[in-house]
Amino acid sequence: MKPRSLVHAALARPMTRALLLVMAALGCWYAWSPGTSFGLGGVLGGWRHASVHLLDAGLVPVALASALMGSTFRERRVDEAVRMAGVARSTLVSSVVTAGAVLGLIVLAAFGAGCAIGGMVRAMANGGSWWADAGAVGPPVRALVVDLRLALAIALAGGLAALVGWLAGRDDIAAVIVVGFTAPYLEQGAALVVRVPAVVGVLSRSPVGALRAVTLANGGLAAPGFERPASVGLSALVLAVWILLGVMVALPRARSGTVATRSRSTPRRTSIATMGGASVAVVSLVVIVLVASTMTFGALASPAIARGLPWRWQRSWRDAHRAGWASDQVVDRALDDLRAGGDVDAALVNRSQAISPEVADAVRRASRVERQPVSSMRAPDLVEVRLDFDEPITSGVTAFTVYGLRVALVTGPDGHWRVDGVEGPVAVQGHVRGGGS
């Protein structure tokens, strides 16, 4: 059975069309959100800004569409009708997985179209800007590498979801499973589950967690602490094991008591023979290529390719983090030095006047100091710090309780980040004495 037939049938389904619309709306929403950096007329900029959300909010519609495609063929007993037409089960599963991957890419295309529309509208709303922002778009080849990486991840997610749907065998069960697997990876979902350490451990090694970890080269969850760059080797191994488990469950070897193996006239077959060699080979090849490609871009990216990746995926950032000299780590150490009452270690600053006495004084006097998580940093060279004061600082009739600092950093030839300057402290939150905030 051709995957094309499965995809056509799935695309004609009202539920799939609804999911495509949802995905387009999601793309539009994310590209239209504040802080968007725009490229050509907003189209490319919108995509660049929003595409990373394919691996959180976008995963839910992708997985749903593909899983429902896989499950419905068994729920409606279409698989039996196809098998009676002479199609081997292994061939059918292979077609379902391939069709799931293709359907995932189609859903991705819907998201991309939404991003383009949202980015364009925002660019026009911001004054009809039609410029090409080289910084946002980047060199075409490097940008394409990032897109290819995302596309591979989505194809893999679609294929896996189709396999899960196939195994579930019912639409409702398939939907519950894939939503249950993907919802914790929403930014909002991660904020909740991260409070339960036991759940976090499981989620970071689940199929979706491993897929995210391999693709984003981080801890897998969209939560503080899990978005720092990490080695993808173990996650890739976990992902490969999940894929193999799925294939083994979908294509189990014939049980020893089945007709083929007990028949006097039929010799005992090996498991690979009972699965249908050619089809299994195709399935295995597709899986290996998908995993290997993703692993290659995630784990073995050359410096030239790495420079085209988002900053948190770049090797330079991961190396700096491993060495303890990433911008967030340097800011943490500088704050610790100030809070201890001393001066900042000279090795942490790029120039002697980088931290003014006013800043040092504010940090020392603050009741609590909180550095922004890496996940919310827009760039590696700017880290925001929040200073909370239990005793409000008064200015006229206003009492301020929260101040903010913006720490600018630069890298040296050794790849280490150092503080180059600090803006602030700037009052962030306060209230009029005797009145409202």
Partner: protein, 222 residues
């Protein structure tokens, strides 16, 4: 002539005209065991499986086609062993279960199977015409009545002109005219050298077909 017969395990499959050969097939679960079944169907033969509800007629057909794994025994279709990993070829089947994507039209559903069989759209239209569904060909299957779905299933079974037909309660929900048409179709099929196995409670239908009857009771052919 209609005859009551019992399939036996002693028959030797020596003729190449044997289209279906079931030997000692049994499916056992913790709760119950069904079988062993033995059945041989030759070219030009119409076999009617008769028996009360739950006697194992559908189970026998599913085992014979490799839709369910058997605990013991074997099935051969056109001389080739069949099991869940080796589906039968050149077989058309109608089961009570649907097997349709309800949001697609009857034509689109058949087209999926036509692609599997390597059959063109003209044949699809011809089959739809044969079963009287041309006016409803572009309607979504979810809008079909049960009888229309049954006719569509018969069209699917005949799509690639298979020599062996396996039909499970084919007359369910069919009106008398459609049942008469099915009798003619099956008679032509047998005349042209084909064979069919039909599980049915419709005694008049089996009588009209002059089918060899095999009683299935308590989970075995007897």
């Amino acid at each position: 002539m209609t005859t009551e017969t019992t399939a036996t395990t002693d028959e030797v499959d020596t003729t190449s005209e044997t289209m279906l050969r079931v030997e000692g097939m049994r499916i056992a679960t913790r709760r119950r065991s069904i079988g062993p079944f033995d059945l041989r169907v030759s070219a030009g033969e119409l076999v009617g499986l008769v028996g009360p509800n739950g006697s194992g007629k559908t189970t026998l057909l599913r085992l014979a086609l490799g839709l369910d794994p058997a605990t013991t025994g074997s099935s051969r279709v056109h001389g080739r062993p069949v099991d869940p990993w080796h589906p039968p070829h050149r077989v058309g089947a109608v089961f009570e279960a649907d097997g349709w994507l309800p949001w697609l039209s009857g034509r689109d559903n058949l087209t999926i199977f036509a692609e599997v069989h390597g059959v063109d759209g003209v044949t699809v239209d011809a089959q739809l015409d044969d079963v009287g569904l041309t006016p409803a060909a572009d309607q979504a299957v979810r809008q079909y009545s049960r009888g229309m779905r049954q006719r569509l299933a018969i069209a699917r079974a005949q799509l690639h002109s298979p020599p062996l037909l396996i039909l499970d309660e084919p007359t369910v929900a069919l009106d008398p005219a459609a049942t008469g048409w099915l009798v003619e179709v099956l008679a032509d099929h047998v005349e042209s050298g084909g064979a069919a196995v039909i599980a049915s409670h419709d005694d008049a239908f089996l009588g009209a077909l002059d089918a060899r009857r095999v009683a299935v009771e308590h989970g075995r052919c007897g």
